[in-house]
Structures are given as structure tokens and as C-alpha cells.
């Protein structure tokens, strides 16, 4: 990275926010993976690996800039059940859509191309994994959304918008964490 994230408070804020999201995604996919087998288990394993790699990269970027990375929560708590494969996949979709939103939100704060170059592929990866989850949940349904991560855009898209499905306001997949 040619420019330290320590150069700007906004950039540190963006990277710390992404890191917190990656911590949560790693944990969430590990939980989901325990309920999955076959293609779902494979996807969960790949998702955990991808989010761990992102987590490690963000930690390195922050340390390069002299900032202590935020730690993972000591414990997370799910507010709903994930005791069947469909529920586990819905948790995975919730995590990927939320991660995509976080990446788009961070892009609005990052100016350095080197930092953006670390974020855009993560947004792309989250959108692709979300499509794979949708394919497992409902192969006949729409597998993509027009604007993955749209909830993280700094300004709403002009209407009549097709909003990102985003996370459910409440429901079986709304995880929370304990501190």
C-alpha cells in the first residue's frame, strides 16, 4: 500500500468498520457452515476463507498506518435459529449482503487508489457469493440484484429504485453480538 491509512481519520474509520464486518462474517459463516453439507458446506468453507483473508488484509493495512485494529467481539449471539440448512443459508445471504453494503459505504470514505483496490474486489466477492447462496436457496428465483451493496451508497439511487434486498428488519436471521 503506497499510502498509509493513518494519513486520514476517514480512511481509518472506513477500514475499522470493514474489519468489524469481516470479524462478524467469519463468525457467522462458521455457524452457518455447521448446518450445511454438500455445496452449501463448500460455499461456507470458501466464504470463511475469503472473509478471513479480508480480515487479515485489513488488520495489516491498519497496522501499517499505526492503528490498532478493532478486535472481534468476545461473543456473538443469534437472535434467530440456524438449525436447518435453509436458515443457515439465509444467514449467509444476510452476511454477504451486509458485507457488500459495508464495502460500498467504505468506498465513499476512501480516496487512495491503493485502499480502494483492496475494497472493490471484496465488494465483488460478496456479490458473487450472495448469488451463489440465492442459487442454493431457490435455483429458479432471481439470483442477482441490480445494485449489490446499494444500501451502503452515500446517496440513494434515483427512483423508481430497485432497492437492495438488504437484511430483514427482524426475523430469524438477525444476529447480534454480546460484548
Amino acid at each position: 500500500v503506497s499510502r498509509s491509512p493513518g494519513a486520514g481519520g476517514r480512511e481509518v474509520e472506513a477500514l475499522q468498520g470493514l474489519l468489524a464486518a469481516e470479524h462478524a462474517a467469519v463468525w457467522g459463516w462458521e455457524v452457518a457452515g455447521a448446518e450445511l453439507d454438500g455445496a452449501g458446506r463448500t460455499l461456507a468453507r470458501e466464504a470463511v476463507a475469503a472473509h478471513r483473508a479480508r480480515r487479515d488484509r485489513l488488520q495489516a493495512l491498519l497496522r501499517e498506518g499505526g492503528t490498532e485494529p478493532v478486535a472481534a467481539s468476545a461473543a456473538y449471539e443469534l437472535t434467530g435459529q440456524t438449525d436447518d440448512p435453509a436458515a443457515a443459508l439465509r444467514l449467509g445471504l444476510f452476511l454477504e449482503e451486509g458485507t457488500a453494503d459495508a464495502q460500498a459505504r467504505a468506498l465513499a470514505l476512501l480516496e487512495a487508489p491503493a485502499l480502494r483496490a483492496a475494497v472493490v474486489p471484496a465488494l465483488v466477492g460478496a456479490a458473487v457469493r450472495a448469488a451463489r447462496v440465492r442459487a442454493l436457496l431457490d435455483p429458479d428465483g432471481p439470483l442477482t440484484v441490480p445494485f449489490p451493496g446499494a444500501a451502503g451508497l452515500p446517496q440513494p439511487l434515483p427512483g423508481p429504485a430497485t432497492p437492495s434486498p438488504g437484511p430483514p428488519a427482524a426475523g430469524p436471521q438477525g444476529p447480534s453480538r454480546s460484548r
Binding site: 476517514r10 474509520e13 475499522q16 468498520g17 474489519l19 468489524a20 464486518a21 470479524h23 462478524a24 462474517a25 467481539s73 452476511l95 451486509g98 458485507t99 457488500a100 453494503d101 459495508a102 464495502q103 460500498a104 459505504r105 468506498l107 465513499a108 476512501l110 480516496e111 487508489p113 480502494r116 483496490a117 472493490v120 474486489p121 465488494l123 465483488v124 460478496a126 456479490a127 458473487v128 450472495a130 448469488a131 451463489r132 442459487a135 439470483l143 442477482t144 440484484v145 441490480p146 445494485f147 449489490p148 451493496g149 446499494a150 444500501a151 451502503g152 451508497l153 452515500p154 439511487l157 434515483p158 429504485a161 430497485t162 438477525g174 444476529p175 447480534s176 453480538r177 454480546s178 460484548r179
Partner: protein, 176 residues
């Protein structure tokens, strides 16, 4: 117990007003960024139309991605018409105006000089070839939008990144 939003996931992003962009989106650079993205969308839509016309059996499989691209086009045209009201964008938003297939505005530059959208490419002789060609176009578009999102000096990096993610997800679905 703290909602997962506290981790940065699912925040609404509107809290502190610190999301102002590094530079003005309503700039010539901003218009050029969005115009380039629009040109790519027009090319993709043209390619999808060609594929469906030649292989009607693909219609349902391609329907969702086509709808996504139509939505990209609508949003980009709306933003461009707002940024550059004197440009050719408003005319193509008019339902009575020529459709995307013939709209001349697709490749207009920041200075308003139009250039045609790229041709959809040679016809694929069988459906699998058509799908492979579309997949390659989506990957190329995703790569271009990714590069734009990294380099954009106009404040449109988040939207360009979102478009890159969408094109990449289409490529993944077409490859499945």
C-alpha cells in the same frame, strides 16, 4: 447484547454526515465516469438482445440479468441528465425517444460528443457459445468498472464498485 450493526454491518451510513466525497460528482470527470459505464451497459444490453433473438430458449435464463442492466441504464441516464442537463441524456430518458438500441447518447463523452456503443460481436452459433460470450462480456465489464472505481476522481467510486459487483455476479451465474 449489541446488534450486529454495531460491527459496521448493516449500518445506515447516515449518522455523522462524514460521507462527503473527495471531489464533486457533478464534474466533467463525473460525467465521463458515468458515460463510460453507460456505454458498457448499452453494449451489454445489445449483446443480451442479440443472444435472445438468436436463441429464444435462453430468454428466461437471461431475463434477470437483462433486467439488472436495464436498471443500470435507467439509473445512469437519470444521473447523467441531472449532472449535464444540456447533454443528450434527457432525450433517451423520454419513453417516446429512441430506445437503448438506437440511442446515440450511449457513448457521449463529458463534452457531449457522442460515440457509438460497441457492437455486440459476432453471432454465437449455439446457446452455449452465446452464454460463454455473454459471460466474457460481463467479466470484461466488471474488470473495467473495478478499475474505474479504484481510479475515479469524481466521487462515483461507490456506484462504480456496485456496478462492478453486479456484472461479476452475472458472470458467475452465467458460468454456473
Amino acid at each position: 447484547v449489541v446488534a450486529l450493526g454495531g460491527c459496521g454491518l448493516f449500518d445506515d451510513g447516515g449518522g455523522d454526515g462524514e460521507t462527503t466525497r473527495s471531489s464533486d460528482p457533478a464534474s466533467a470527470a463525473g460525467t465521463a465516469d458515468l458515460a463510460a459505464a453507460l456505454q458498457a451497459e448499452e453494449a451489454l444490453l445489445s449483446a443480451y438482445r442479440t443472444a435472445v433473438e438468436q436463441h429464444p430458449g435462453l430468454r428466461s435464463r437471461l431475463q434477470a440479468a437483462r433486467a439488472d442492466h436495464e436498471e443500470h441504464r435507467r439509473v445512469l441516464l437519470t444521473l447523467l441528465a441531472d449532472l449535464d442537463p444540456s447533454g443528450p441524456w434527457s432525450a433517451t430518458l423520454d419513453p417516446a425517444a429512441p430506445t437503448a438500441r438506437s440511442a446515440p447518447a450511449a457513448g457521449a463523452s463529458a463534452t457531449g460528443s457522442p460515440s457509438p456503443a460497441p457492437a455486440a460481436g459476432p453471432a454465437a452459433s449455439d446457446p452455449e457459445q452465446a452464454l460463454a460470450a455473454l459471460r466474457d462480456l460481463e467479466r470484461e465489464a466488471a474488470s473495467e468498472r473495478t478499475e474505474q472505481a479504484v481510479r475515479a476522481d469524481s466521487g462515483w467510486a461507490p456506484l462504480l464498485g456496485v456496478l462492478a459487483a453486479s456484472e461479476a455476479s452475472h458472470a458467475a451465474v452465467l458460468a454456473a
